[in-house]
């Protein structure tokens, strides 16, 4: 049986516009990942371009739009996404395309940079490391696991419309990761940075981010926690565990 793969192609040096190119491949006997299929296609057509590195859902580089839903090609089995032996692969939506499935992630990283993704503390650095009780450490579960694949932010309409003003689910999940960290002493400053009408409040709770995250994280819940901190203050006891649940 044959698979019909429709691939988004664009090489700015040759093509005036992007276009969809069709490929036919023999359906593999066993269930393979979308990335394996791309590698098979690339053996025949070396011009096909995409990012990948770890091939096991750790590096976050092969996020793409697979039959209409964002995901990591390397951990998405064909059996899960095929629709009548058809597969459509497109770059992550909303970001500028550099070539084929490769997008320019600058806007995404700029938002990440904005939230200062590092621990800030007023106290003197200890000789070895800043310790934390296991209970406090548990508060970071469901937050620290993010691999910055951008599947969530590029599936979020609010991020499509205002990628320069709305921080987006991925960076907001990380913002909450530091707001929830008991060792961080810059909560007030962090919240002030996020207090404008766009950074956090443009999240309309559409929940696309939750449905696509390949790590099963819940950015929407973290955004809800940030909103309630902004609305009611930062008291330590208000910081809850988001968790995977």
């Amino acid at each position: 049986m044959e698979l019909s793969v429709s691939l988004y192609r664009y090489n700015p040096e040759q093509d005036k516009f992007p276009y969809m190119k069709n490929y036919k491949v023999k359906k593999p006997k066993k269930d393979i990942m979308v990335l394996d299929l791309l590698n098979m296609l690339k053996e025949d057509d070396v011009t096909i371009s995409y990012r990948r590195s770890c091939r096991e859902g750790v590096c976050g580089s092969d996020g793409m739009n697979i039959n209409g839903k964002n995901g990591l090609a390397c951990i998405t089995p064909l059996s899960e996404v095929l629709r009548g032996n058809k597969l459509e692969l497109r770059p992550l939506p909303g970001l500028p395309v550099i070539r084929d499935l490769i997008v320019d992630m600058t806007q995404f990283y700029e938002q990440y940079e904005k939230i200062k993704p590092f621990l800030q503390s007023d106290s003197k650095p200890p000789e070895q490391e800043r310790l934390q009780s296991p209970k406090d450490r548990d508060k970071l579960d469901g937050l620290y696991e993010c691999i910055l694949c951008a599947c969530c932010s590029t599936s979020c309409p609010s991020f499509w419309w205002n990628p320069d003003k709305f921080v987006g689910p991925a960076a907001l999940l990380q913002a909450y990761r530091f707001l929830a960290d008991t060792r961080d002493t810059k909560k007030q400053e962090r919240l002030e940075e996020l207090g404008d009408p766009f950074s956090v409040y443009r999240c309309h709770g559409i929940m696309n981010c939750v449905s696509v995250c390949p790590k099963g994280l819940n950015p929407n819940k973290a955004i809800g926690e940030i909103k309630s901190m902004l609305l009611t203050g930062t008291k330590e006891d208000k910081i809850k565990v988001v968790g995977l649940e």
């Binding site: 309409p157 609010s158 499509w160 419309w161 205002n162 990628p163 996020l194 207090g195 404008d196 009408p197 766009f198 950074s199 956090v200 409040y201 443009r202 909103k227 902004l230 609305l231």
Partner: protein, 121 residues
């Protein structure tokens, strides 16, 4: 304005409107509706106060909602998804849109104040 202030305004105006509409419907269905009864009800001082609150919050609520829609969909970027040519005029389009719905809000306010205060005197 801070995001939280807008958030509170949007929610509280919705609650005020809901209570008001509920109250008016309750009145309509719970008693026999004659012109005199309606007139007494509508022009009682407490009801005038509530009606003013209602119109005020309806205007605030719709202003915030429409402003959000405008800054989501009437931007260079969003219109650019449909047409690059039109997207160049996005800022002008959004300004016209803002002026139009602000004028609607203003006329709404004038009409509502006229209805209330013209009939009192």
């Amino acid at each position: 304005m801070k995001g939280s202030t807008i958030w509170y305004l949007q929610r509280s105006s919705a609650v005020i409107n809901l209570i008001y509409i509920g109250y008016v419907f309750y009145f309509i269905y719970s008693s026999e509706l004659t012109f005199a009864a309606w007139n007494n009800f509508f022009y009682s001082p407490i009801m005038i106060f509530f009606t003013l609150c209602f119109f005020g919050s309806a205007i605030i609520h719709s202003f915030i909602g429409l402003w959000t829609v405008g800054t989501d969909y009437l931007t260079r970027r969003t219109i650019g998804f449909l047409s690059y040519r039109i997207s160049k005029y996005a800022d002008t389009l959004r300004s016209i849109y803002t002026v139009v719905f602000s004028l609607f809000g203003l006329s709404y306010l004038i009409v509502s104040l006229t209805i209330i205060f013209n009939n009192i005197s």
